[in-house]
């Protein structure tokens, strides 16, 4: 335990800013998860691995000499088709079935993805240099990489664009109709199969954006996908399905929690703290609901 953070208040400002900017990124991934959970009733354990794959796409174009920031446009386009293909290959067979089947099946996909990324990109920790520099605040006592500000800005931009798209476009309305009642939507002429594939594709594209942003703000490694899955799962169960402001707020809350846990408990317990928080949140909700003789559904 290290209580340095309480002795130096500037560290607290640093942690808060870092946490909020990071949390916006988490919220973007969580929004994708909420989308496909709400529409298709699937929990995707491979969510984090899709994020990492998106990150590696941005890293690859960085290696080709293109600025990695272009990854936020290229990566989602590629990831959309990856998601579409994944749906046609596996996910369409688990859509109507027990949720545990989807958990296990996507767990299998996650293992395959991790291993393939390990083969293709190697087991080293990599990062794409954006060379955006840093902003110094409060007499140089708080440093803020510009890439983090950039990533938060892009996340918000894409989230707003997606919300507008879901409200206005034909496909967006079809997706929302399917989420409300798949059978009724089918009767009214919505091609639900296509809607599902598109939803999974959009989710993968969101993961691609988040991954591209992670490649310039944080680090990439083939095996760090699962924490992102758990983070987004956590945000979704706190915020509920399809409630974007709540997703954003709880994403930032999670980011804050992580940064403070990092300072107080030490970096080696950071991931452990995230997973433990998931358990605690679930247990808290369970006790709260059991007072009303209900349970988490």
């Amino acid at each position: 335990m290290d209580f340095l953070i309480f002795k130096a208040p500037m560290l607290m400002v640093q942690a808060s800013l870092d946490g909020i900017l990071l949390g916006i990124l988490f919220a973007l991934i969580a929004y994708g998860m909420a989308l496909q959970w709400g529409v298709m009733n699937i929990i995707n354990i491979a969510q984090g691995d899709l994020v990492i794959l998106g990150g590696y796409i941005a890293y690859t174009i960085y290696l080709w000499g293109i600025h990695p920031a272009w990854g936020v446009i290229i990566s989602p386009i590629i990831m959309f088709f990856v998601g579409w293909g994944l749906y046609k290959l596996v996910i369409n067979k688990v859509v109507d079935r027990d949720l545990f089947i989807s958990i296990l099946a996507t767990f299998g996909i996650a293992i395959v993805f991790q291993q393939l990324m390990n083969f293709i990109f190697g087991a080293d920790v990599v990062v794409a240099q954006s060379e955006y520099g840093t902003t110094m605040l409060f007499d140089n006592s708080v440093t803020l990489p510009n890439s983090k500000i950039f990533s938060a800005f892009i996340s918000v931009l894409y989230a707003v664009a997606l919300v507008i798209y879901m409200k206005k476009s034909r496909l967006g309305r079809a997706i929302r109709a399917t989420a409300q009642n798949a059978r009724a939507a089918k009767i009214l002429g919505v091609d639900t199969e296509k809607v599902y594939a598109a939803t999974f594709g959009i989710n993968a594209a969101l993961c691609g954006i988040a991954g591209a942003l992670i490649s310039i703000t944080l680090t990439l490694h083939p095996y760090v996908g699962l924490p992102y899955t758990v983070r987004s799962f956590m945000i979704v169960i706190v915020a509920g399905l399809g409630n974007l402001p709540a997703v954003a707020v709880s994403g930032m809350g999670l980011g804050l929690f992580e940064e403070f846990a990092d300072y107080i408990l030490g970096t080696e317990f950071r991931i452990g703290a995230v997973f433990l928080l998931l358990v605690l949140i679930l247990v808290y909700r369970r006790f709260k609901l059991s007072k009303k003789r209900e349970y988490l559904k």
């Binding site: 545990f100 296990l104 996909i109 293992i111 452990g272 358990v279 247990v283």
Partner: protein
């Protein structure tokens, strides 16, 4: 029927006792097989019988591993110095100390996980379905991450378990010792699970699986039985972990003990492959899986995890009822099910 059972079981036990002599070179593999069967059978108590698909039994397995090794060392030497020096370099167990240590260690590694299962059971078993699955997944990984940060049990550099006493010169002794230990555990677990299968307890677990609300409405205190069921699993998982720790000789927090990516998935996969909710399913599933793994792993070196992932997807998507479920559909009479031909036809028409 009774006599047939007797012949079956006695021949299996004789085979089990003779196996280390017959297949002398494969003692480690046979030990692994016994442990895998134990893990699959105990997982089946939750996932198959109770309908609570847990990824968290790895928690008890890892806990048992650390506890056995810690007790075995801590009984005679200071634990911190042992892990500090990276193991056996400073201290050497005598033969008597080694066996005393592992005996007490296994006892602790059975009881403590069971108590922990009981303690956290009330909170966690109140979750249902996928929330329970994800929660236990988080629990297992959190345990691994936290164990990797604790200095006294070796933190990130791992924990070397006491080596087999050097005074025993027989080179086969170590392998035989761990094999018979794990075989005894397997027999114990099988007898226990078989006893459960004939008892009211199993019916209650099945009632919880089929409809928990109705079971509660019938006056069953479901929470009590769920916790007891989990404690039984934890008891045997802890023992399995303790034996495995001694066999491997080295404990790493995320790659050996709380190894959610391997053991944690294997136990689910084996039970599903064999057929969950059956007595023999996990046994057959684990045996098949182990043969498949050991046979193919070396052929596709480097690609084994890809194969594992594909295998998970294929089994789960196309084969969710497992081998026993498939046999049951094919030969229902063999499972004591009578099919009313009229009723079956009526059902087909309804579809």
């Amino acid at each position: 029927m009774k006599q047939k059972d007797l012949i079956l079981y006695s021949s299996l036990i004789i085979l089990g006792l003779a196996a280390p002599y017959l297949f002398s070179a494969f003692k480690v593999q046979l030990t692994y097989l016994c442990v895998l069967i134990v893990l699959a059978m105990t997982w089946n108590l939750q996932g198959g019988e109770m309908g609570y698909n847990t990824f968290g039994n790895i928690l008890f397995y890892g806990l048992g591993m650390y506890l056995t090794a810690s007790v075995q060392v801590g009984m005679f030497f200071p634990l911190a110095e042992w892990t500090e020096s990276g193991g056996e370099k400073t201290f050497v167990h005598t033969t008597a100390q080694y066996f005393q240590g592992i005996g007490v260690g296994l006892l602790v590694s059975a009881i403590v996980p069971a108590i922990i299962a009981g303690a956290i059971g009330y909170a966690i078993l109140g979750l249902r379905g996928h929330y329970f699955a994800i929660c236990t997944l988080g629990l297992g990984i959190a345990a691994g991450e936290i164990a990797g940060g604790i200095e006294i049990i070796g933190a990130g550099q791992g924990f070397t378990t006491p080596p087999f006493p050097a005074e025993i010169v027989d080179a086969e002794a170590r392998g035989k010792f761990f094999y018979f230990l794990s075989f005894a555990l397997l027999v114990g677990t099988f007898v226990f699970v078989k006893y459960i299968y004939g008892s009211r307890f199993r019916l209650i677990l099945n009632a919880i699986r089929d409809n928990e609300d109705k079971a509660e409405a019938m006056g069953i205190q479901t929470m009590k039985y769920k916790i007891v069921g989990w404690m039984c699993s934890a008891f045997f998982c802890g023992l399995a972990g303790g034996i495995m720790g001694g066999l491997i000789g080295y404990i790493d927090s995320t790659d050996v003990a709380f190894d959610g990516r391997e053991m944690g998935v294997f136990m689910v996969l084996m039970a599903i492959l064999g057929g969950k909710g059956t007595l023999w399913g996990p046994v057959i599933g684990a045996t098949l899986f182990h043969f498949f793994k050991e046979g193919l792993w070396t052929l596709i070196l480097g690609w084994q995890y890809v194969a594992l992932g594909v295998l998970i997807v294929v089994i789960v998507v196309y084969f969710p009822e497992g081998l026993m479920g498939w046999l049951r559909e094919k030969y229902p009479e063999r499972f004591g099910e009578v099919i009313d031909e009229k009723d079956r036809k009526a059902q087909v028409e309804l579809k």
